[in-house]
Symmetry: C2
Subunit: 368 residues, 2 copies
Amino acid sequence: MGLIPNLLHMNPRKPSGIKEIARLAKVSIGTVDRVLHNRKGVAASTRARVLRIIEQTGYTKNITASRLKLASTHRIRIAILIPEISEPWSYWRLQQNGIEKAAAELKELGVTVAYFYFDVNKPADFRKKWQKIRTADFQAVVTVPFLKKAVTQLLEEAEVHHVQVVFLDTERPLLGKACFIRQNSYDAGRVAGRLLYGLVGEQGHYLVVNLLRDAKIQINCQQREEGFRSFFKENAPHLLPQLHTLNHPLNTDELLAGVLEPFVKPERPLGIFVSSARAFMVAGALRHFPHSKTFLAGFDLNQQNIACLKKGEIHFIIHQKPEYQGYTAVKSIYNHLVHEEAPAVKVDIPIEIIVKENLPSYIHREWA
Amino acid sequence: MGLIPNLLHMNPRKPSGIKEIARLAKVSIGTVDRVLHNRKGVAASTRARVLRIIEQTGYTKNITASRLKLASTHRIRIAILIPEISEPWSYWRLQQNGIEKAAAELKELGVTVAYFYFDVNKPADFRKKWQKIRTADFQAVVTVPFLKKAVTQLLEEAEVHHVQVVFLDTERPLLGKACFIRQNSYDAGRVAGRLLYGLVGEQGHYLVVNLLRDAKIQINCQQREEGFRSFFKENAPHLLPQLHTLNHPLNTDELLAGVLEPFVKPERPLGIFVSSARAFMVAGALRHFPHSKTFLAGFDLNQQNIACLKKGEIHFIIHQKPEYQGYTAVKSIYNHLVHEEAPAVKVDIPIEIIVKENLPSYIHREWA
DNA sequence: TTTTTGAGTGTTAACGTTCACGGCGTGAAT
DNA sequence: ATTCACGCCGTGAACGTTAACACTCAAAAA
């Protein structure tokens, strides 16, 4: 340890980075810095010379050093504008966990995130919170595209104020060049079609169950159903007469089991695609028909779905990786702001298929 | 931009980090540094006082600043000891792509990786390359546990020389506390069992195809078969008589189609599980039996398998995410060496299921 | 002619961490 | 009494980047 003299200190390494560029271009580091940041105050000839050296040496700036310097003065501020988190295991809580993990990693690089929660039923609340964000110079905002008109306004104002917008979990055809982190719902529906068709086969019937909140269907669920139907249209069009849809309001008095009864026949297999995260409710209702040959596919690894998967009551779950979405949103924004040549944030979350047997490899592990 | 005076420069922020600790403990930053690095030369009372302050303030060192300083003197050197890469699309090439991506990200933090390739058929070559690594002070080595005896020796010597070892793609029961990045082959086989059973059902027959290189079965393939069989043992033991194994040497003169023929009967469905990355070969052979009801599952998203998946000749692919494995190996080593409290590297790659419909979400996307 | 401007430069002090070096003391050896 | 050793601690120069500030000339304004 102490026996070997420290050779590195005897022959100092030749400087790399901006200092080396300055030496080669016969200017000071100040000038190189001005060129790199496109600041004025550099003669055209000097600028060209410096740029040539930068080109030739393939210089890239040391982001570690840059962020170390900037962390104290020019922080990167990201606003998170998401629906109020009611249940402790809600989808947005998971997204937020991912966001917080990213924030922790980026903290010492001068990145801060601030949360703003809005009431999904009140567009005015969304607008109000956005105005707070807009007037508080954030570089970026991560939000959801639920409230169509309010979001359109947000996009326009964000463009004017140079605030980067990233949508989580969006499906709405996005105006302009908005960024997003989402899973393709249409394709996810197609995957569910493939999986249930494989299990149920030609002799069976099929049912799409949309569980409605406030009597209206979510856009995600709608697109998933379209994808599901498109699979059959392309691969087994003769089965379309056997493919039905059940829209069932969650806040109804009717029991789900009762509504399902006409579809469940002991003599023929039934494939049920639940377009939302509540497949476990359908699984519960199906316990009234113990001798039916029913196969169930749905979304999201919440605790109830996991339990049903383990018991064999749900056969396939499609995972949306909410934590990963949140994590990726923040990380991508950072990368985009820091490496200027980095592409805009457009991430398609893979459509991951969970069955009973690969569940452990998903829940016993870090998700990032 | 220039209109607002820079307030941050007028009221300087109170220092954070080591300086603040020093101020509170009424010592210099040198002493704090000595305490943080457990170096001698600090009075016991002073050390206790500093440690108390560190505890109270919840100080954590700024790794950005630390690496900036250390990058020039104490680089983190990682050796990669993997089989020679023959084919351009080989599995190890993909792993190496992931490694290189991680290396690029960590370059400015003073991390360097060096590659050593060995001939998988020559344990002596493996040993020779390892000796080169051992004598060249690397902090860590990423390798594969193929050659049992040579690897045991490596592990012992690495422990003595404080070289961290991380195995890629391992299944061998690992001696001691070795680290790994792998997919659980047994569980992957079980997943394949679930998927094929779902498609083929009770009336079908099942076949495990092990494609042998040099007449011997790879340990991965063996464990996958065990997992596959265990699924049927648990879920459909009555089908075990209908479950056969075919070990087929790749360098034989016999045609695969000929060997498969006795198993393929037009009247009954057949589920084939190929335990390696060459399911496309079985798919090719099956083209001789166009009217058979055959279902095929295998591993890895190589180009031939992808083509078969798109054509519907292969029904399920299990993805091992080789690029992600390589990336994770290097990143995890870095995190472990840099955050001393970080856990040892033990990563289970999730068993990801690919069908025709979710393939696009896997191949049109960054894997990290 | 002298002063003033300002465009084009160089200089320097940070950001938080690291570590060699040197400078105090106190106690032991000469 | 003078030297030497050594435990304990502070100082300062880096790492590469940033940006305010200071300086130097020219040409334009007085």
